[in-house]
Structure formats: structure tokens, C-alpha cells
């Protein structure tokens, strides 16, 4: 009778002997033929990741090196790590006069946007200013969200750049971390249903149907055992009232990072985009609002250890939102 160690050795050596040594080249060729024509998924990350890379390539390959060095040195190019810009903790050029404690359930006064807002800017870096987003397709295409950005360090995400999305305006904002992937963001959403198993969201077999009201979505989220949710609180934003819920994704990396199709807790209305969690313990602070009978979700995505000043900056953007419904 073999000892445990002997048995372990036998099994290991047997598997080594049985294992093929080389993947046939034709498999890799066929794989790359497919991947070259296949878009990456991952919602905001994928789109803005490519956007960032393309601009890096342009900057380094399309301009004279001396000019690039000059631009980087003077900080006139991208204001972010990797481009010679200031670190993540750069103070806001114009901090809000009354920083908001986050997350907050209390109504926050909405600053009046400046006179000439920019409507639905393309995907990419935003300058400080006032913007108007029309994030939804029909029948909510007339709904707009006006907001103030107080620094030059946020990226807009336009719906036309999101794979499988039919949204026709800006659907959110992002902030990149040092590794070049977004770590914080804000989004506008219309939600159709929830996923029973967020790690296996494709298909509809385990979709959890939810009714059309604010309370329906709140009940669906808070009854899930897949992620943690805070107790819902009353909230008011942009002139409309609703509920606030904070959703915290699982801490186990295996439960979030390794999902083949991403960790996706909800499904958008038709034409909307699928947005997966940024990673374990990703925190979604949700304002679930009733806007003239339409349920709208405004979401901040961050982590518990996200820099406080950046979180405050993002909160100030949300606090500035004015919603206009036709």
C-alpha cells in the first residue's frame, strides 16, 4: 500500500507523462483570428482603457519626442500618473465650498450650472466646466442631467463607445488609477432586472424580475444575498426624491475578479449598457430616484480605501446634478 507521499509522487509523475507538451500552432492561429475581430468587454474599463492607450500611442508616436517631453514636463497634457501629471491626491483647483459627507442620505443643494454647458462631450478627458448628459435612449432620450466638473481629471464615457449599448449621450464619468484602469466613476442607469448570480449573468434563466418603482428596485437589491447592501434611506437629488442604497460587492476575489463575463448585478433597460463591478469590495452608492414616474439610478462606484479627496470631488459632481425631464 503506497504511503501518501508515494501516491502523490506517482500521480504527479503519471500526469506529467500523460500531459502533452505543446499546443498545436493552428489552435493559437485560430484563436488570434477570432480575438483580432472580437471586441473586449468590461464596460467602462474596456472602452476608456482603449481610449487612454490610443491617446498614449498618439502622443508618443505622432509627435516629436521633444514636444512630448515638453508637454509632459509642463503638465499641459494628461493630468494623470504616467503622463507626468500630479499624483492621485492632487487637491482640487476649486474645492467645493461645503464638502459633503459621504455617503449621505440628506438632500444636498444643487449648485446652479454655469451659463454655457457643453452637451454630451465625446469619450475622453473633460476640462473643468458644466456639462449636460442625455444618457438614455427612447423613451427617455429627452431626460437630461446637468452637472459641474471642478477639475480636469475626469473622463467622460459616451454611450456610442460602449459595446452593445444604444445609449446616445454621455453615460458616466471615470477616474483612472495609476495602473491605467478606472478606479472610481459615476454613471446614469435605467435598470430592468437583477441577476440572481452576478458571476454568471449571461442569459435570463436566473434574472430576478423587478417592478418599475423605486421601492421595487430597493427591495430587489436589499433582498439579494450575493452582495451586501445598506439600509435604504430617503434621499433627494437634482430636484427629485427617492432612496439611497450602498451596495458592496463580495470581498472574495474569486467571487468577483474571476467571473468569466464580469460581476454584473443588474441588467439595463433595452439599449442600456452592462456595467460590471470594478473588483472585490467595489462600493456602489446608488441614488434611486423617481423622475416624473421614471426610475433613474445615479451611481458612484469606488472603494472603501479610495482617496477621500477624490471621493469628495466625485460627490460634489453628483451634488451639482440638476435633472430635467421633458
Amino acid at each position: 500500500m503506497p504511503t501518501d507521499r508515494q501516491l502523490d509522487d506517482r500521480i504527479s509523475r503519471w500526469l506529467e507523462a500523460e500531459a502533452p507538451t505543446q499546443l498545436p500552432d493552428r489552435v493559437l492561429r485560430a484563436t488570434f483570428e477570432r480575438t483580432r475581430t472580437t471586441r473586449q468587454k468590461g464596460g467602462w474599463r474596456a472602452v476608456l482603457g482603449r481610449s487612454l492607450m490610443n491617446r498614449t500611442f498618439f502622443a508618443l508616436g505622432g509627435a516629436a519626442a521633444v514636444i512630448v517631453v515638453g508637454v509632459l514636463a509642463t503638465g499641459l497634457y494628461f493630468n494623470q500618473p504616467g503622463f507626468g501629471g500630479p499624483p492621485e491626491t492632487t487637491p482640487l483647483p476649486t474645492p467645493p465650498s461645503a464638502p459633503t459627507v459621504v455617503p449621505t442620505a440628506a438632500p444636498s443643494p444643487a449648485p446652479t450650472p454655469s451659463a454655457s454647458p457643453v452637451a454630451d462631450p465625446p469619450t475622453g478627458r473633460l476640462n473643468a466646466g458644466t456639462y449636460v448628459a442625455h444618457p438614455f435612449g427612447p423613451p427617455n432620450d429627452g431626460m437630461s442631467f446637468t452637472f459641474i466638473v471642478r477639475s480636469n481629471s475626469w473622463e467622460a464615457l459616451h454611450g456610442r463607445d460602449v459595446p452593445d449599448s444604444e445609449e446616445s449621450g454621455v453615460v458616466g464619468l471615470l477616474r483612472f488609477g495609476e495602473s491605467g484602469v478606472p478606479t472610481m466613476g459615476m454613471g446614469f442607469h435605467r435598470i430592468r432586472s437583477l441577476n440572481g448570480d452576478p458571476c454568471n449573468h449571461p442569459g435570463t434563466a436566473d434574472d430576478v424580475a423587478i417592478g418599475p418603482t423605486v421601492d421595487d428596485l430597493v427591495a430587489g437589491l436589499t433582498s439579494s444575498t450575493e452582495y451586501e447592501t445598506s439600509d435604504p434611506t430617503d434621499v433627494s437629488l437634482g430636484g427629485y426624491s427617492g432612496k439611497q442604497v450602498v451596495v458592496t460587492m463580495p470581498a472574495d476575489p474569486a467571487a468577483v475578479d474571476q467571473c468569466a463575463e464580469g460581476y454584473v448585478i443588474w441588467n439595463p433597460m433595452e439599449g442600456g449598457f452592462y456595467d460590471n463591478a470594478f473588483g472585490p469590495e467595489n462600493r456602489w452608492t446608488l441614488w434611486i430616484l423617481d423622475v416624473e414616474g421614471q426610475r433613474v439610478v445615479i451611481r458612484i462606484s469606488d472603494f472603501e480605501d479610495s482617496p477621500a479627496d477624490l471621493r469628495q470631488e466625485l460627490q460634489s459632481i453628483v451634488d451639482s446634478i440638476v435633472i430635467t425631464a421633458p
Partner: protein, 183 residues
């Protein structure tokens, strides 16, 4: 360097992805073929896993977990291959013995018995055996890779190992045949 490649691939750099996939391909193929016991199915599983890796790379927050994540994708792709055939556990047959192969275990009979014991395992147990004894992952790492509790990984590994021990101890040896429908 590898982390840089993963981050570049996650941002859509296909050349970086090709480097990563090429370097991981042989290992993934070995894992898939050991689990599936079929070269054709294993090739399909690896291709599917790599395509999914390309699609989902932007969702991978920690580039250092790329290798573990790839293993999960290939194990899942092995399961999908079986499901597509609707007969995951019935289509998989032991590889034919090649008497010309010699190894330190000494006897063809030994291999035959290991083969038989392995072939009787459920696919999920086979995956745990391959990840542990071939890829060298611990039970805790296997649990993270497969997204299962560590206790479940340990239990599968224990059962599988004991099943193979039992096969080695079997008194009677049976002729090696393809086991369609008998696993």
C-alpha cells in the same frame, strides 16, 4: 514585465495578448487535455478560454492574478465542452495506453490502474487533481481559482486521491477499453 503585458492587453493591446497567450498556451492545453482526455476537445477548450480571456481582461482588476484566472477560464471551458456535448462524463474516455512510454512509476500496470482510477472520477474532481498534482496549486489556491470554498476543494482532492489509491490497490486488473458511457 508580465504585469505590464497584462495591463497592456487589458487596454486592448492585441500584441501583448498574443505574447501572454502564446506563453500560457502549452500549459493550458496540458491541463485541458488531462481533464478532458481528448485532444480535440482540449484544443477547443483552450481556444474558448483564450477568447474569453481577451474579452474579459478589462474586468481583471489584479494583473498578478492573471495566471490563476486563466486556469479558471480553461477549467470552465472544459466544463462547457462537456455540456455542449450533453454527455460530459460519457464522452470522455481514457487515452489509449502507449506501452513505449516508460516512466519512474515503472510498470504499465501502474499507469493502467491510475488511468482507471482517474477515469472514474467526476469531471470536477479530475480538475482538482490536475490543478494540484500537475499544476502544483494548493487546495487554497484551487479554491480561489475555481471559486469554491476551500473545504470543498480539500474534500474533492481527498476523495479523488483516495479513489486513485483504491485503483492502485485493486487486485484484479481489467483489460483497458474505451469506456463510453461508463465513467
Amino acid at each position: 514585465m508580465r504585469r505590464d503585458l497584462v495591463e497592456a492587453a487589458a487596454r486592448g493591446d492585441h500584441e501583448a495578448f498574443e505574447v501572454l497567450a502564446t506563453s500560457a498556451g502549452d500549459r493550458l492545453y496540458a491541463v485541458a487535455r488531462l481533464i478532458l482526455r481528448s485532444s480535440d476537445l482540449a484544443e477547443d477548450a483552450v481556444q474558448e478560454a483564450l477568447v474569453r480571456a481577451w474579452q474579459q481582461l478589462p474586468s481583471l482588476r489584479d494583473p498578478d492574478r492573471f495566471d490563476a484566472w486563466l486556469h479558471r477560464l480553461v477549467v470552465n471551458a472544459c466544463a462547457d465542452q462537456g455540456r455542449q456535448l450533453r454527455r460530459w462524463s460519457q464522452q470522455v474516455r481514457p487515452l489509449p495506453l502507449d506501452a513505449s512510454i516508460s516512466d519512474d512509476t515503472g510498470a504499465v500496470a501502474d499507469r493502467e490502474q491510475l488511468e482507471r482510477g482517474f477515469g472514474r472520477l467526476k469531471p470536477e474532481q479530475r480538475a482538482v487533481v490536475v490543478l494540484h498534482y500537475y499544476s502544483g496549486f494548493s487546495a487554497a489556491e484551487i479554491a480561489r481559482i475555481l471559486g469554491i470554498p476551500e473545504g470543498t476543494a480539500r474534500s474533492r482532492l481527498h476523495y479523488a486521491t483516495e479513489a486513485m489509491r483504491a485503483a492502485l490497490q485493486a487486485d484484479a486488473r481489467q483489460p483497458m477499453v474505451a469506456h463510453n458511457g461508463t465513467m
